[in-house]
Symmetry: C2
Subunit: 341 residues, 2 copies
DNA sequence: TTGTAGGCGTTATCAT
DNA sequence: ATGATAACGCCTACAA
């Protein structure tokens, strides 16, 4: 019952239906110039024998793959947080398969550009989704050089207009900084991820903007930028708390780092938000489970992935897509780490 | 500089080298019956023009894809935890691409078996890795019916011998139960995930075994099995704590649920581990960040993925692989939630 | 509306 | 050791 039958070819279907291969091909293609009668006959047979076209043959003939590629991030201290990746991936997969595309995911080894080149040169995918970007991003440079279709999840400042989608990190960081300022704090620090990662760059910019707007100094000793990791969060907070003039608030670019920072605060029995107001990006479970819970900017990673996929598929099908960055909404979720001060 | 050149075909390479297509093909294939002279000439040209074989054409001719498929899990209340998936995926990707395979990942829509059928019938992949299993698992049944090569990450009890890899959950759950018993607790509860998911079934079995071994009763009112979610953990703990005869320890099948349970305990100001010793599976960041931190069984999801990929590739290449389940190591990490009692 | 025939880029079989 | 040539399964002018 319900057994998977022998794999048929279009030729066999054609013979059974008593028509030519082209007619079957057209029927499958939804070509209108075909009589309703043969159409339904063909589909009955296809149904009955469970025929599905062979992908390789089809790809070869059409010179496209109906697959999009993404490269899997490397280690933990990579360019972005794990939580982000997972949700984005889910968004990409769902959208892509709703459009009859596949997702090819490859490990970035030996290096990411190598993996991308392989993907392109072996004609395995029609387009690529890049996840997050850096300043002087070799992946983006490669894509631009090859002219291969791609969409970036993230922003980029230096390469002119490319298809990309992001949340407005400058604005969000400004808003988050203001959120803390409004609670009376005036000495706000900043802990960022990898130096040169655009998320970090942009969030730092938003943070600085808001301080300036409030007429407050931007103090270098309050800014730590190094890598996306719990450890970095911990170390940075340690340094901040050993400053002669301690900050009374902090913004962290990412939930994982934030957990590290909180860990140190707990170790020295600092009161959050009394001694130190804390807020970060990525409304992950960590920030909810934490005690006190952490105020965050929600980043809808799922939608980021889903929209990027949509965009890329539109581009591949020559639909009009606006060049440049599309922004998705964000909002601030106030939790214990900044409230009741 | 370093530009991606025009895409060459094997025919063009052959012409430039002044040999036939077959010779080029053989050279690429590593066929020994070919003179060192032409070999190196061909490779020089390939190098120079940056030739790489077209995947579709190659797949068509060879009748294989050099790709393996996995289906992306659905919603949160799915069959297993998010943390597990991500690590396993990473393991799969790395191993697979080291062997020149690709990973095709598809959303399980409309249903997982549908997605699998599509993957198989359109000849997109050579084999499939299944993630976690249920009792009467329709995915496994489908694979068995089709005879399509697959490896399961997880165990299965009802389908005879299939290629699979897992940690020994029965044994691990026993050990975890004993860990709590050794700390003097005698009324231990169990919170499981989806009814019928093999992880839950096996861990429950291990738990029961150990209680029996200690001559303790297995009490139904101490066992809650429902779904993998924070909410379920919370609700279950709520019910447990409203029992006339409260438990004094609990084992949770998964870190997410455990966070839910902890949340309730915190709300009622219960003391952990004093009033309630807590332990769970999956040594995720949640369990480390939690206060108190949670004792867990570490499950090396990365290795699970990596070994599964290795196994599948061996199977596809007709290497001898032992049928049945291969186990990987686990260990218990003692943290605050069960120590100092 | 339908059929014929050639081509997509490789591999594989059979000669030489 | 190397070359022709026929698959592989599908698509797509071009013809009818």
């Amino acid at each position: 019952m319900n057994n998977i039958p022998k794999k048929m070819t279009i030729k066999e279907i054609a013979e059974i239906a008593g028509v030519s291969k082209s007619t079957v091909s057209r029927a499958i293609d939804g070509n209108p110039r075909i009589s309703e009668e043969t159409r339904s006959k063909i589909f009955d047979i296809i149904q009955k024998y469970g025929y599905t076209p062979n992908t390789a043959a089809r790809n070869l003939a059409r010179n496209k793959t109906n697959a999009i590629g993404i490269v899997m991030p490397h280690g933990e201290s990579g360019i972005y947080a794990a939580t982000f990746f997972q949700e984005a991936l889910k968004g990409i997969c769902n959208t892509v398969s709703n459009n009859n595309y596949d997702v090819l995911i490859t490990a970035g080894n030996p290096t990411e550009p190598e993996a991308i080149k392989r993907l392109i040169s072996t004609s395995r995918v029609d387009g690529i989704i890049l996840l997050r970007s850096k300043l002087r991003d070799t992946n983006i440079e490669l894509m631009l050089r090859t002219g291969f279709p791609f969409v970036l999840i993230g922003s980029c400042k230096e390469y002119g207009n490319i298809y990309s989608i992001d949340n407005d990190n400058i604005s969000a960081a400004s808003a988050l900084t203001e959120h803390i300022l409004q609670r009376g704090k005036r000495k706000i620090a900043f802990i960022g991820g990898v130096e040169g990662s655009i998320v970090t760059v942009n969030r730092l910019e938003g943070y600085k903007n808001k301080l300036t707007e409030y007429g407050l100094p931007v103090r270098d000793e309050y800014i730590y930028v190094h890598e996306f990791s719990e450890k970095h969060g911990y170390e940075s907070m340690k340094k901040l708390m050993s400053l002669p003039d301690r900050p009374d608030g902090v913004i962290t670019v990412d939930d994982t780092m934030c957990m590290g920072a909180m860990k140190y605060l707990e170790e020295i029995n600092a009161c959050v938000p009394g001694d130190m107001a804390v807020a970060c990006f990525n409304d992950s479970a960590y920030t909810r489970f934490s005690r006190p819970s952490i105020t965050t900017v929600t980043v809808d990673s799922y939608q980021l992935g889903s929209s990027a996929a949509e965009m890329l598929i539109d581009v591949l099908n020559n639909k009009r897509v606006d060049l440049g960055c599309r922004y998705i909404d964000y909002k601030i979720l106030e939790r214990e780490s900044t409230s009741g001060i």
